[in-house]
Each structure stands twice: as C-alpha cells, then as structure tokens.
Point group: C2
Chain length 204, copies 2
Amino acid sequence: MNAQRSRHGTRSLILESALELLCASGFSGITLGSLAKRVGMSKSGLFAHFKSIEQVHLAVAVYAYELFQENVVTPALGLDKGLSQLRETVSRWLEWTSRSCPPGGTPLVAAFFEFDDKDGPIRAVLLHQEVHWRGQLTRIVQETITCGSFREDLDVPQFVSALCGISYSFHVSLRFLREASSSQVAGRLVDAIIASAMKRSKGN
Amino acid sequence: MNAQRSRHGTRSLILESALELLCASGFSGITLGSLAKRVGMSKSGLFAHFKSIEQVHLAVAVYAYELFQENVVTPALGLDKGLSQLRETVSRWLEWTSRSCPPGGTPLVAAFFEFDDKDGPIRAVLLHQEVHWRGQLTRIVQETITCGSFREDLDVPQFVSALCGISYSFHVSLRFLREASSSQVAGRLVDAIIASAMKRSKGN
C-alpha cells in the first residue's frame, strides 16, 4: 500500500515536472534528458513509471486538460444554466489564461500551433480535448438560447469561434505583447459579442 | 561578382531551408544539425554564412515577415484608402494563413506562443514585427473612420484585437481542428465586426 502510494507520488512529481517543461518549451521541450534532470532522477528511473517519452507527453496532455477543466469548467457548473454559467465560464477561462504557467496559462493552445501540421497520438489527444471543450461551450451557448437570453437564430458555431478568437487574442496580447490593457480589451470584446447575441437586441 | 552572387544564393538557400524547419517545428526545431542536414552542407559551411544559430533564427524571422508583408500588406496598398484596403488586407491575411507553410501559413504566430515567456533577441524581433503589423492595421482602420465608413467613436484597439482573434481562431480551426467550415466562419466573423463598426449602423 505504502509502496503504491509512493509510486503514485513519484508519478505525480514526474507529471508536475513535465508540465513545467511543457509551459516553458512545448512538447518538444519534454525529452527524457530534460525531464530526468528536472525531476532529479535517472532516465531508467523514469522508465519505471513511463515506458516512453511519448507516454509522458500523452499523460501530461491529459493532466493539463484536467487542471483546465477543474479550474474553468467545473466550478461554473453549479450556477444556473444560461447566461450566468456562460459568463462565469468565460471569465474563468480568461483568468486561467492569465495565470502563470504552471498550473495556469494555456500550454495546450500553444501546442495547437506546435502540432497543427504534425500527425500522431499527441495531436489526436489534443484534438479530442479541444473538440470536447468546444462541445461544452456549444452546450452552454445553446442553453443560453433555450433559457431565452440569446436569440434563437444565433449562429452558435460562429459565436463559439469568436469566443475562442478572443481568448487567443487575449493570450497573445497579455503574454506575448504584454499590453497593460489586455484584460480590459478582452472583457469589452466578450461584452460586445454577448450583447450582439442577446434576444432583446434583435432588430435593434 | 560571381562569387558574391553565389554567396547570396547559398544564403537564400539556407534561409529557405530554415523557413521549412520553422514551419515544421518552430524556432527550437532550427538547430545547426537539422539545418546542415536540410541544406546538405557541413556545419562549418553554414558558419561561412551565419556566425551562430541565433543569427539564423533572427534572419529567418525577418525573412518570414518580409514574405508576409509582400503577400498580405503591400498588394492592398494600391487600393483606395479605407474600407476597400481594409477588406483586401484582411482577405489576403486569411488567405495567407490558409496557404501551406512555407511560404504561407503563420509560423510567426506559432512563435508568439513559443516565445511568450522566453525573453531574448528573437522575442524582441518578433515583438517589433507584431507591433509594426498591428500599427499598419490600426492605420488602415483609422483611415476607414476618416473616410467616413466607420463611426468616429469606434474603439480601434478593440477592433484590431478582434481582427487578430478572428485570424488566430481561423488558424486553429483550419490547421489544427481541420474544420471544413473554417473559411466560411472566419468570413462571417469579419463581416460581422465590419458591420458593427459601420457608421450607418450607429444607433441601429
């Protein structure tokens, strides 16, 4: 039992270190050498927990997405369906994007650009996660229509794509350009697309 | 003279190869080893043209940005200032994003995520380029206000940020998610923010 617990603890330590490397240098920065050095164990020690570096890559992708879900999606599920849940989810999404990495930030978004033209199992996992997350956003937007806040003819895929664009633009503005106005601009963009989707603004 | 021309030709060949590596694996994928192999020359041969791999990184960043300017910004400069030039620039931007990489695509946008938390000369060059490009977009949007097409109280930084968000979202949708509707959705988003900025829609 203790051995199992210790084994679990070491695995967590390896994943934490792998996430740090992911944040710093993307998946290509997680090598057996860099990871062994970061964790402070030998390469053969790593092999006791992960059979290959690809297994580490897959496990850290899953781990980073779990953190995103726990911090962004899950806390908003307790709110009323519709606009409240949408606003809370988007607010947490932008806040998570602005947090230092790890545990926050969006290393998986960076990986979309790292893996846009590279096929393989990591890409497949990242794609599955992003489709899942956009499905959650789509459901929340559709519920906001059902609740009567958003107009019924709203183009939901277009709305979700616009939300994603705002979050990517916020990431670049805040973390790359380091503009002081990043949060304000992103907030105003979110307010604007929500206003344009509201039922009462139809035909206005 | 012939020696100079040949030297210039080899330098171009090295830059083309570096751009291919940039598209495939980001700046971290351009190493002396990978570049020498791609060009088909020895590492010491490379040193005759570039004193270090950092010099290659800087040169390829400049080269990729020149290609972007030549294909996206410059051709639109011949059009009337205002909405025509804005529409042409944005249309060319999205078209360039959708082109295979190299010579198209947006390897420099991918690099924003690679260098968001990494300081140094490459980041400084990429930042300078992005500030320059957003300055060009800002000028075109301001001219669209001056020409009377866009309303005078338009929030220009917010508009430019929204445009950038649409292009990033288009990149992810097309190249990562590989959605068939990417271009249509991006086009509708551009139409929507242009419509919301038009003078005649004020107060509507």
